[in-house]
Amino acid sequence: MEEKIKAKIMDEKKMMRAFQRMAVEILENNRVVENLVLIGIQKKGVYVAERIKKLIEEMENIKMPTGILDITLFRDDLHKHEQQPIIQKTEINFSVEDKDIVLIDDVLFTGRTIRAAMDSIFELGRPASVQLAVFIDRGHRELPISPDYKGKYLPTSRRERVNVMLKEIDDVDQVLIMEPTRF
């Protein structure tokens, strides 16, 4: 599907401030920092998690355990695909048992990815709590899921797409709303 830029919502500076606020909020909400772990959801959630991890580590002078989660095998629409989606790596090199987990993704939309991520995590153990941090909450939830931390709430229409661009893979920090060129 061809699409064009409808609007630029955030630039590097605004994004930096949002990341910082999210990191501070996560620390405020979790008194025992030692029990905290971050898990980024493939693909862009991984980079968002890395940013937050860095900020927390700088502020607290600690090592923040951070994992990578691929939720493909837990998706509820696997049977609907023509081709099977490619599976990426899951890399959680610590026990999630009794930990306070912050799940991290770039965009929160229907909530189905988060549902799959929670199922996947509970196969790994029984965490003390699971919190959700997303960089953009774009509305249109189909499940009773809501973020504990968000970079920005951005009301969108369903046919639009939110593109969180990050230097690590997109060479630039910005958030764009994309819309299809044809209907």
Binding site: L73, F74, Q83, E91, S120, E123, L124, G125
Partner: protein, 314 residues
């Protein structure tokens, strides 16, 4: 967009795959390796799908490997044992498969002594067919798990030199491996007595050697094959003792390979026949890792084949 997609309905042999398909299966398998190290070794990817193991030849490791792979993906699995089945009562292969298909399975894993039988199934069956070894033809999942093991060791599956030693003539494992490594642009030498390593194999792009030291020289991988006495391999050379003298791998022969080289074997191994006892247990031997990788590769294949009902080819 011209983007690559894995578009196979069946896994009949390595011959049917592109090098990109092979890469995709290996990458998917690498992601599956991790699942088998978890406390809960199960993901719901194939929930509600049914896999049938249809084995007409004796097999413990391949059958259980497919069974574990299917179960770790949450598929339901039926083992169809030919020795107690209606085939003994005179039913044809076609009727057996049609009967099974009436129960709506998604994937049929078949091992049969007749080369080409998995292909035959695709002409009338609607399930995805996986070849788990057909006669002297192919054993694709074995070659793929061998490739995964090499990729883990060498971080790549290209630019390698692979030496395969033993009964090439009767070995579907050798055939699938030769095809796979030629597709990936690797050098393949095959080594054994002339009666078991016909020159004909040069047409597949393999180099034929009758001297093991020459053939193994500078290779990254030395793959030993079992002397298959049950397939009459004993008739192709004078005695096991003489075979061992010329074609068994020991420390001296193995020292001709690269320093970083590894030893592989599809199993079951005959200790002190084709492989020196101490070498089989050394840190150069990846025989058990191959078995572990078999599960990840078979999970990847089960996952990637859609398992939805297909149109028969004819």
């Amino acid at each position: 967009m011209g983007e690559y997609i894995f578009n196979q309905n069946h896994l009949l042999g390595i011959d049917h795959l592109s090098d990109k398909d092979i890469d995709t299966i290996l990458e998917t398998a690498e992601s599956f390796v991790e699942i088998s190290t978890r406390d809960v070794k199960k993901v719901p990817a194939l929930k509600g799908k049914t896999v049938v193991n249809l084995f007409f030849e004796n097999s413990t490791r391949t059958r259980s490997s497919f069974e574990i792979a299917a179960k770790r993906l949450s598929a339901d699995l039926i083992n169809f044992n030919s020795s107690v089945s209606s085939l003994k009562k005179g039913e044809s292969l076609r009727d057996t498969v049609l009967t099974l298909e009436a129960m709506n399975p998604n994937i049929i894993v078949i091992r049969h002594s007749a080369s080409g039988s998995p292909y035959y199934l695709t002409t009338f069956a609607r399930s995805s067919i996986i070849n788990a070894g057909d006669g002297f033809h192919e054993h694709p999942t074995q070659a793929l798990l061998d490739a995964l093991t090499m990729k883990q060791v060498f971080k790549t599956i290209r630019g390698l030199k692979v030496a395969i030693v033993g009964d090439i003539l009767h070995s579907r494992v050798a055939r699938s491996n030769i095809i796979l490594h030629r597709k990936m642009g690797n050098e393949v030498s095959i080594i054994g007595p002339p009666s078991l390593v016909p020159r004909e194999f040069e047409k597949m792009g393999a180099k034929v050697h009758y001297n093991i030291e020459e053939g193994v020289k500078n290779s990254d991988v030395v793959m030993m094959l079992r002397v298959q006495s049950e397939r009459g391999a004993g008739n192709y050379f004078p005695s096991i003792r003489e075979y061992r003298k010329h074609f068994a791998i020991n420390k001296k022969v193995f020292s001709m390979a690269k320093k970083s080289a590894i030893i592989m074997h599809p199993g079951p191994i005959n200790r002190d026949v084709e492989i020196d006892n101490t070498l089989a247990d050394s840190d150069k031997s990846f025989i058990l890792q191959q078995v572990t990788n078999g599960i990840a590769v078979r999970m990847a294949v089960l996952y990637l084949l859609k398992g939805d009902f297909n149109e028969p080819i004819n």
